[in-house]
């Protein structure tokens, strides 16, 4: 077989496989995320064919797209290690492509940083990567970020909840503790939201607060405040993360290691004991894993 015939055969084979492997969309209803795989679009690798010709092998890559907060930075990690980042546009659209080399199962993670520098929770996507294909995950949406202005609120006062979400989207604020209540707020064009909520009517005690888009399971970080007899303002910026024993406002390997040191030991420090039951067990690790910052 001469070189030209061989090249034609390869091109025909590629075309045929493209037709057979036209984007097959699987919709994973819980997330409204779609995945597809198509033959890699720009062949870059070459190897020598047994007949002496040249074979172009489509490149392998993974692509992620979706909606983040307008003009936010979206970071991509692979197996927990930073790979690249992009900036979302004015409407929050983002698109990231990463070249790969092998067929394998890989854990990709994404997080977004809003214009005030607050991070979203990690979004993890364990993915089957197929060599020679572009594996494309679309429809990704980041849950809102959240801040509160007080760590303790006088029982007749109010607390201001703010953050960023998708542009012009209904956000539900959920307060739970001795009572549970929900409030709604609409994000602005730039994705920001802010609402002052009276705590009159809430019994004194500990409360947690988080936000989510209406009818969406994914939630923001969970913050904590107390309804009591005084008001304490705090530059909250997630400085009171459960498990953040070194108070660096980031949950990472250092905090995991501190928790691992106290694992199954008695009388652990309060910072490590996320659920306050005076033992460090799998539940505390689970809480830590929820707040993981990614880097």
């Amino acid at each position: 077989m001469c070189k030209n015939q061989f090249r034609k055969l390869i091109s025909f084979t590629l075309l045929l496989s493209t037709l057979f492997c036209l984007p097959i969309y699987s919709v994973f209803a819980d997330e409204d995320v779609s995945i597809s795989a198509s033959v890699g679009d720009v062949p870059v690798q070459q190897s020598n064919a047994p007949s002496g010709g040249v074979v172009f092998i489509p490149k392998t890559s993974v692509r992620f797209s979706g909606l983040a907060y307008p003009k936010s930075e979206v970071f991509l990690l692979k197996e927990g290690k930073f790979q690249t980042f992009v900036t979302a546009d004015d409407l929050g659209n983002f698109n990231i492509t990463l070249e790969e080399k092998y067929s394998e199962n890989v854990l990709y993670s994404l997080y977004a940083k809003d214009p005030k520098g607050n991070r979203s929770l990690l979004l993890n996507y364990p993915l089957v990567v197929y060599g020679g294909y572009v594996t494309y995950l679309s429809g990704i949406e980041f849950s809102p970020t959240i801040n509160i202005d007080k760590s303790e609120v006088y029982f007749a006062d109010s607390i201001t909840v703010s953050g960023y979400g998708l542009s012009n989207t209904n956000v539900e604020i959920v307060i739970s503790g001795k009572n549970k209540t929900t409030f709604n707020v609409l994000t602005k064009q730039d994705g920001s939201y802010s609402r002052s909520i009276s705590v009159l009517g809430l019994e004194k005690g500990d409360y947690s607060i988080y936000t989510r888009y209406v009818d969406n399971k994914k939630i923001s970080n969970i913050l904590r405040f107390i309804v009591g007899d005084s008001t304490k303002y705090k530059n909250y910026e997630l400085s009171n993360l459960p498990g953040d024993c070194n108070s660096d406002r980031v949950i990472n390997l250092v905090d995991f290691s501190i928790l691992a040191f106290w694992y199954k030991k008695s009388d652990p420090p309060v910072c490590a004991d996320a659920n306050g039951d005076k033992i460090i067990n799998l539940i505390d690790f689970s809480v830590l894993a929820f707040y993981w910052s990614g880097q």
Partner: protein, 291 residues
Amino acid sequence: MILFCLAGKAHAASVFIDTPNKSNTGEYFEVLVYADLDKESINSVDMSISYNSDLLLFSGYKNKDTFLKMWIDPPRAERDKVIFSGIIPGGVSGLFDANKKELAPLPLVKLIFKAKKTGKAEFVFQKSSLLKNDGLGTPLVHTEKGGVILITEKVGNTKVEEVTDGAEIFYTDKTPPLPFEIILIDSSLFSRTPPMIVFDTEDLDSGIKEYKMKVNDRDWSIVNSPLPIKLNFYPNTITIRAVDYYDNYKDQTIIIPGFTSKYFRFSIAELIIMVILGGSLIAYILHKNKE
């Protein structure tokens, strides 16, 4: 373009073990532990799986193509059980595969066994905890399904290279663990957590069996990460050795600063001067009090 809609079939979450149907004595095979999460997101796993230790030898684990890698307790054999626990920061709800219509079960860990004697070997979950990624550590209710493998005698002329029914015939690991860092985590002044060193690496072929430590030129001792350390007056060199299940190893060292250089950051001469000045001040005050 073909658009598939999610099947919408309701099913409970489950964990299950995937084994080859059979293996021959003397050969190695891999056992995969899967979690089918019914679209719930989990971030923590704690499991104990019993096996027939008279028929099988636990020979390590592999991280490749699996997703439980941040170990609280890496896979190890304890009598007739393999136990392991770990976290997946940020949580996962299944495996995204473009060839499948819905989320596929998630491969958590790959365990390696060697077949010792003929017989029917069973893998049974003694304990399996899956905690949801909800910030509360809520347990995920799920069912369990073990696995069975038939161990048969290797028949005379069977070539070592011939592959049978999914079992690994020839297994070896000649590659050491991957290079790694040792990180020193300082202890703040009023913290009850002591200073520690943290280390973690992978072995692609058989998994990390143990870590050993040597301080300066002393003997090796088996250790775990995180490892509390004591600060001595002078700096110490600590060597950590990661050893895999085939006794390949990789070393890394760290120099732990001495107590003086860490806290006082003064030279010995400066310390002596300070002692003399301090002593003089005390003597002056006492003298003044006498007057």
